[in-house]
């Protein structure tokens, strides 16, 4: 009641309330005066007497006002207004502080949202912490993180003491007829346990059971977009690759794995495939759910022991596995998903935190500087009766406001950054596309901003209070704070610079690698081969070659720098692998003869593939220089026969070596088959050399040749390579930005601190100069103070760098983690900037003329 009435009273305009009160009190006063006049006083006497009796009329109004206002709230509002006025009066300082915080908070929030989506809570799916993935390693072939074969799935299923369910997942790409147009639909073929591994329940219908064959489970997104979320979709049939599939269920809305999958079909693994054994047909993603009570670590250990035991088994398969170093690795689902993104993201987050902390230290320094300028104001307020708490509150409020303003700007930055990130092209970009700023991230950002505000406000506030007590002690303590700032800032900047340097060098090393073919002006695409039009591929190739502006065009599967060649072991006719000889292993590409002219890969011996190398003709192949050198070092490879696909193929030519998978990956020897001779694949790629990007041309030509064929993944060769380098480029660029900013902040901060110290001690300098100190001595003294703290920072930074380097070595390429050059350059950069920052104010100190100095203040 009371509270409500207060509000009602306030709701009437405060101004009117105020006026009424003043009127009322004035009237009262007049009436008292009249009374005195009636009693026989003169008008002036009456006024004086009334004033005496009445007392201070404004204090009466104040007291009355307190009844209907919220004194405490109003005081805070007043403080806020005061703080805002102050902020506006120093736009430069405010701007600097807000920008600093904004950048720190923005970078942090953006990177944390990525971390959240990619690492912490993969794909926003619930309960994935019980899901593990198994990957194959083959030590002998430097293969790690590979998909498994059916035998591996059987092994994982067999470990039922640690897993309650295990599933195999295979990629699926179908041509889907949506409203008369051929669309490429990406999905997965999954064994029936798949959804149980994720403990998911269908949004509609059911998931697969063991006898499902031509059934399909739609993703929630597909159900919404194609069927408008209509429950009657259940039981209907969709056509994938000309085969009918009955819709039996819909996956739940939050089910985002795999990020690009729109439909799931049952995967039935034939007994023969199980019987093929380990290492064959390795294209199953293996997922398993931990049994209740089993920790991830226990399961990892269990799988490791199992692999060791398998290799130790005295059977043909065991010996084979031991020879290749073939085994399984188990890892948590989140790690499996994030793969290569994991360490870079943590690194970026740490870097962003360093920037934020450096920024906070700087703003604290700024406020500290200003606090000495405000000493007078504070003293006056204290002597007028303000309590210490009121002053501290005021100061903290100011810094928190700065923090919040910075935070809001930072969130705007983060929003921008996140929308940029979702468009960056790096491997795993489907994951990044899901990154968004949700309310928790906004809270995190604002919380961070307020914490920063309190952090950098607390130091000056505490300082200020101390100062009012004992000035000299406080000054010493402040110096201690300042030294700490310098140390921390220099250390942070140094660490960031070293890491940035290492990554930039790695990037540079990688960019120097030549892929072995001319990547410029090449456009690439994939298409799905139509079942009912076997001549389509050759018609398309001819049409592309004859299209205007096309220099050369060919078909190839796979396209370089897309999914990697098909790796396989092979045999050499009349040769047994000798002990110590490299493994007979390589990767295959299936191409038409024009491929080499299109990619500008020179032929170094023998002949090219020819139009006559068709399905009916004897099987032939080309090998690259690397394969020739490795397996035929002392003989002419031409005329030899190798078997990799479909029996023995005669080597008819040798090409220059290429890196066609990833630039930094260990390159494998390459075998080129004639595409028409191996018609296994459901899709094929196009490579086309033209003066201008030809994506539209390829699309139009495919459509004109057969309108039911979907064409997809149109990219220039440079884009594909950029994607492989993407993570390195993005990481190096972001870290470079962070590093430069933190160095800049450190410089400004150190400059500010030293300049402040000089200003404070102007008188002392004057006295010393007057007593005969030389300018050089003075200068040395001030530089000494800055450099001592900075030196400590560098030492600490170097230690941190040593520690961190072990951690980032996985992100480096042909650069040692302890790279003397990089460390030297970083050190030089920090020292140069540092010397400038210290030298400038120190020189000013040495130029102070004793006379002005003594008159100072």
């Amino acid at each position: 009641m009371r509270f409500w009435n207060r509000f009602r009273l306030r709701a009437r305009t405060a101004g009117r309330l105020e006026r009424e009160l003043v009127d009322e009190i004035r009237l009262h006063r007049e009436m008292i005066e009249e009374e005195f006049i009636r009693d026989g006083m003169s008008r002036t006497e009456a006024a004086r007497a009334a004033a005496q009796q009445f007392g201070n009329s404004s204090s009466a109004a104040d007291l009355s006002r307190d009844e209907w206002t919220f004194p405490r709230l109003d005081a805070v509002a007043k403080d806020v207004r005061f703080a805002l006025r102050l902020m506006l009066r120093h736009p430069l300082l405010t701007g600097a502080a807000v920008l600093t915080v904004a950048f720190g908070v923005g970078a942090n929030t953006a990177i944390l949202s990525i971390l959240e989506t990619v690492l912490l809570n993969p794909l926003g799916m619930r309960h994935t912490d019980r899901v593990m993935a198994a990957q194959v390693h083959v030590d002998r072939l430097h293969m790690k993180g590979a998909a498994g074969s059916a035998a591996d799935l059987r092994d994982i299923r067999g470990l039922s003491d640690v897993f309650s369910a295990a599933a195999g997942v295979e990629g699926g790409v179908w041509t889907y007829q949506a409203g008369g147009e051929a669309v490429r639909l990406i999905g997965r073929a999954v064994t029936p346990e798949f959804f149980r591994v994720f403990d998911a329940s269908p949004a509609l219908g059911r998931f697969f059971n063991a006898d499902d064959r031509e059934s399909v489970v739609l993703s929630y997104g597909m159900w919404q977009s194609q069927f408008g979320g209509d429950a009657s979709a259940l039981g209907r049939t969709i056509t994938l690759d000309d085969k009918p599939y009955r819709i039996v269920g819909v996956a739940p809305a939050g089910f985002h794995y795999p990020a690009d999958a729109q439909a799931f079909v049952p995967l039935a693994i034939s007994p023969q495939r199980y019987a093929e054994g380990h290492g064959n047909n390795m294209n199953l993603t293996l997922l398993a759910r931990l049994r209740t009570g089993v920790t991830p670590l226990a399961a990892i250990v269990r799988v490791h022991r199992f692999s060791t035991a398998q290799q130790a088994a005295d059977t043909a398969e065991g010996r084979d596995m031991a020879k290749f170093g073939y085994g399984l690795d188990l890892l948590p689902f989140a790690d499996f998903l994030s793969g290569d993104l994991r360490s870079p993201l943590w690194l970026l987050w740490a870097a962003a935190l360093v920037v934020l902390l450096t920024g906070c230290a700087n703003v604290a320094g700024l406020l500290l500087t200003r606090s000495s300028a405000r000493r007078k104001e504070i003293a006056i307020r204290l002597s007028l009766g303000a309590t210490r708490w009121q002053i501290v509150r005021q100061l903290l409020l100011e810094s928190t406001l700065l923090g919040v303003a910075g935070g809001l700007a930072g969130l705007a930055m983060a929003k921008l950054a996140v929308s940029l990130v979702t468009r960056v092209s790096v491997p795993g970009k489907q994951l990044l596309a899901l990154v968004g700023l949700d309310h928790r991230m906004l809270l995190y950002g604002l919380g961070l901003a307020m914490a920063s505000g309190l952090l950098f406000g607390l130091v000056p506030a505490v300082q200020m209070l101390r100062e009012s007590q004992t000035s000299e002690m406080a000054r010493n303590r402040r110096r201690w704070f300042q030294d700490l700032f310098i140390t921390a800032e220099v250390g942070g900047a140094f660490v960031l610079l070293v890491i940035t340097g290492l990554l930039l060098r790695s990037l540079w090393m990688v960019e120097q690698i030549q892929p072995g073919f001319d990547v410029h002006n090449v456009t690439t695409a994939y298409f799905t081969k139509p079942h009912n039009d076997p001549a389509f591929a050759s018609r398309l190739e001819t049409a592309l070659q004859n299209a205007p502006g096309v220099e050369a065009a060919a078909l190839a599967y796979p396209v370089p720098f897309s999914q990697g060649g098909l790796t396989s072991g092979f045999g050499i006719r009349n040769r047994q692998q000798q002990p110590g000889e490299p493994e007979f292993h390589g990767e295959a590409y299936f191409v038409t003869p024009e491929y080499f002219r299109t990619m500008r890969i020179p032929l170094v011996a023998g002949r090219n593939l020819a139009a006559g190398d068709t399905a009916e003709a004897p099987l032939v192949c080309l090998i690259d220089r690397k394969l020739a050198d490795r397996f035929f070092p002392s003989q002419n490879p031409i005329g030899q026969e190798i078997s990799m696909y479909k029996g023995w193929a005669r080597i008819v030519g040798v090409t220059a070596a290429v890196r066609a998978d990833g630039l930094e990956e260990e390159t494998r020897p390459v075998v080129y088959y004639s595409l028409p001779q191996i018609p296994f694949f459901a899709q094929s790629g196009v490579v086309l050399r033209s003066a201008v990007p030809a994506a539209a041309l390829i699309r139009a030509t495919v459509r004109r040749t057969n309108s039911t064929v979907p064409v997809y993944d149109l990219q220039t060769m440079e884009e594909r390579m950029g994607e492989k380098l993407g993570i390195r480029r993005v990481l190096a660029a972001l870290l470079a930005i962070f590093g430069v900013i933190s160095l800049l902040l450190a410089t400004i901060g150190i400059y500010g601190v030293i300049a402040q110290v000089v200003a404070e001690r102007t008188q002392e300098i004057g006295v010393r100069m007057a007593l005969g100190a030389r300018p050089a001595q003075i200068q040395r003294q001030f530089m000494g103070q800055g450099l001592r703290a900075a030196g400590l920072g560098l030492a600490l930074g170097a230690m941190v760098t040593l520690y961190v380097q072990k951690w980032i070595s996985g992100m480096l390429y042909q650069v040692k983690a302890f790279d003397a050059g990089t460390i030297g350059i970083s050190l030089a950069a920090v020292l140069t900037v540092l010397l400038l920052a210290v030298w400038w104010p120190a020189r000013r100190a040495s130029r102070i003329s004793p006379q002005t100095a003594l008159r100072y203040e």
């Binding site: 009273l9 009160l21 009190i25 009237l27 009262h28 006063r29 009436m31 009466a60």
Partner: protein, 110 residues
């Protein structure tokens, strides 16, 4: 201003004002005058206490205020007691009587 104990006065002043207003609507000056006269100058209610008290009563909904012309033809803010104000007055009078009686008993018994 008569009473020595401001806390005691604070509660009592509200009661005195309500009691004054229960005889009819009045403006601030006349309320103060009335209290002073009836208390034989014992309570000289200062403006520093009167107006805060009136605001308090307004907030509690025990009085209402409106601008009206006084008998000397001036615009003044006239306060009027509300029904809840009357109930509050009765309550306070009862409490006051109780306290007064208690004090009296203590004083007599000493």
């Amino acid at each position: 201003m008569g009473m020595a104990n401001p806390e005691f006065l604070k509660g009592t002043l509200d009661m005195l004002i309500l009691r004054t207003l229960s005889r009819g609507p009045n403006h601030g000056y006349r309320i103060a005058l009335h209290i002073r006269r009836l208390s034989l100058d014992a309570f000289r209610v200062g403006e520093g206490s009167l107006y805060p008290a009136l605001q308090r009563l307004l907030i509690n909904g025990w009085v209402q205020a409106e601008w009206a012309l006084t008998d000397t033809n001036r615009k003044a803010r006239v306060y009027r007691i509300t029904p809840t104000g009357r109930r509050q007055l009765a309550e306070e009078v009862r409490e006051f009587d109780f306290i007064l009686a208690a004090i009296a008993r203590v004083m007599e018994g000493a």
